[in-house]
Symmetry: C2
């Protein structure tokens, strides 16, 4: 059987992956969930027709949203992850013994169950005793928090659909309030290459820049992302991602990584000119 799954990047571009078999298909209260087995990327999780992650490239994403802020914040204890029901982000967070509490707000209980079954390597992160899972709406959860967290990782990638609330101006304001006075928020900045994605990317930077005194953007190469290129936002009340980067301290930990290195931490903030231009325009610097 010659079966292909297509990830539609824009109406005019799609990435197609040969598919050995569909392992799971279901519909939760929130979304369509599917798990496919592919020769190139191993198992992939598909939500509403879009790849959320794959066995082969999820390490890039998980390492980049966790190690970058963890290597900057001097004494993080309490982290909030919005989304993240697959456990991949939690798994990397649990490498850090100084973290005392990891709260994961994932509205979709079925998603967690599917990930536990098909992606046990990632999902084991959810079993750490410091991890608490709340099956609630992320924005509603956030409204009740004040000066509580050292770090917030917004793991929601889709500015449309049921996670739409995690991309509004209100969200950035509520995140600011939920963070302690030296807190850091990491969020998904999207892919800047295709015209279809550029305006979402601009809008996110505008909102973050208006809400946080420090707002920088960093990059990673994720093959299943649109154009293979993904940006992350680093929004912070006090610490600068490069000036306050504790390079030697991080290296001394000798953590196992496949993407992140202390050098790459710095390089990830060195962006192409066309991306710099987009960001500077939204900052009113250009």
């Amino acid at each position: 059987m010659d079966m292909w799954f297509s990830e539609v990047h824009t109406p005019d571009v799609k990435l197609s992956l040969r598919t050995a078999q569909q392992l799971y298909s279901g519909k939760s209260e929130w979304q369509d969930i599917a798990v496919l087995e592919t020769p190139a990327f191993g198992k992939i999780l598909v939500l509403n027709g879009h790849v959320l992650f794959s066995d082969a490239d999820d390490f890039v994403y998980n390492e980049m949203v966790v190690h970058v802020p963890m290597a900057v914040h001097p004494k993080p204890k309490k982290v909030l992850v919005l989304g993240g029901g697959d456990g991949g982000v939690a798994q990397v967070l649990t490498m850090y013994p100084e973290l005392e509490q990891i709260d994961i707000v994932e509205p979709d209980e079925m998603l967690v169950e599917v990930c536990r079954q098909y992606f046990p390597d990632f999902a084991q992160g959810l079993d750490d005793p410091r991890v608490n899972i709340y099956h609630q709406d992320g924005l509603r959860f956030l409204r009740n928090c004040e000066a509580e967290y050292d770090m917030i990782i917004n793991d929601a990638t889709d500015p449309f659909g049921h996670t739409e609330g995690l991309f509004t101006k209100e969200f950035y304001g509520n995140s600011y309030r939920a963070l302690k006075e030296d807190g850091i928020m990491i969020y998904q900045h999207g892919s800047p290459f295709f015209d279809e994605d550029e305006s979402a990317c601009r809008s996110m930077h505008r909102k973050a820049t208006q809400s946080f005194p420090i707002s920088r953007v960093y990059q990673a190469h994720i093959p299943t992302s649109p154009a293979g290129y993904w940006l992350f936002g680093f929004a912070s009340k006090k610490y600068h991602p490069i000036e306050d980067f504790k390079k030697d301290k991080w290296k001394e930990r000798q953590l196992f990584t496949e993407y992140y290195t202390a050098n790459l931490h710095i390089g990830a903030f060195m962006l192409p000119k066309y991306v710099e231009d987009i960001l500077e325009e939204e900052e009113g610097r250009k």
Copy 2:
């Protein structure tokens, strides 16, 4: 009409682009040549079924193979480009007034003619009076050169087919000989992500490391490349790409770029851990 062109990255992965029309199709002595019009990438040049470049992302490649060595070499005068019949690399080279001679060795005369017709913006680089085009085999041309060039840019991307000779151990040795005592060679290092590409990437690094005292690898994000990720080799007799980088001098030139910046020059050499591991293994350091 719903027409799609598929760039086959591996037998299990393809990038498909909606195609408005096929503008040209022909067969030279060396290869099948096609030009397609696509909404997402503008015009694309397809050789033997593979995208060589597109209107939308060729700037990344051209800037990265030219500005990186030009910002390191203190007094380059004479450059050799192997391949490059489209003129894109030549066009960026002609931004530098200190260059006195730009020799382009492109065996395929028909390719040059097609590019002149369909990609006049790139091809205008070929009209600069300092540019000489030789319709010859690159490896044969190189065999007759000794201590002649300050820089060699190997623009050939395919280690198979008629450019195979530009990926052999002999090629790296001949390039070394053709360079002056402080010469720099830039070459295509391939895409390291898919298993299918990794062995070619390893083999190239091994050959370059054995032939040149300085051999470093840098990266760029090119959406039409396999996994959207491309590596370049910087092989050099004397200058180190970072230690000898003349950042201020380059910035003073105020050249127009869309991808390269003096900052990105440094970041491009900060590679993901899995790439570092591959390179270190081939260097015998791991």
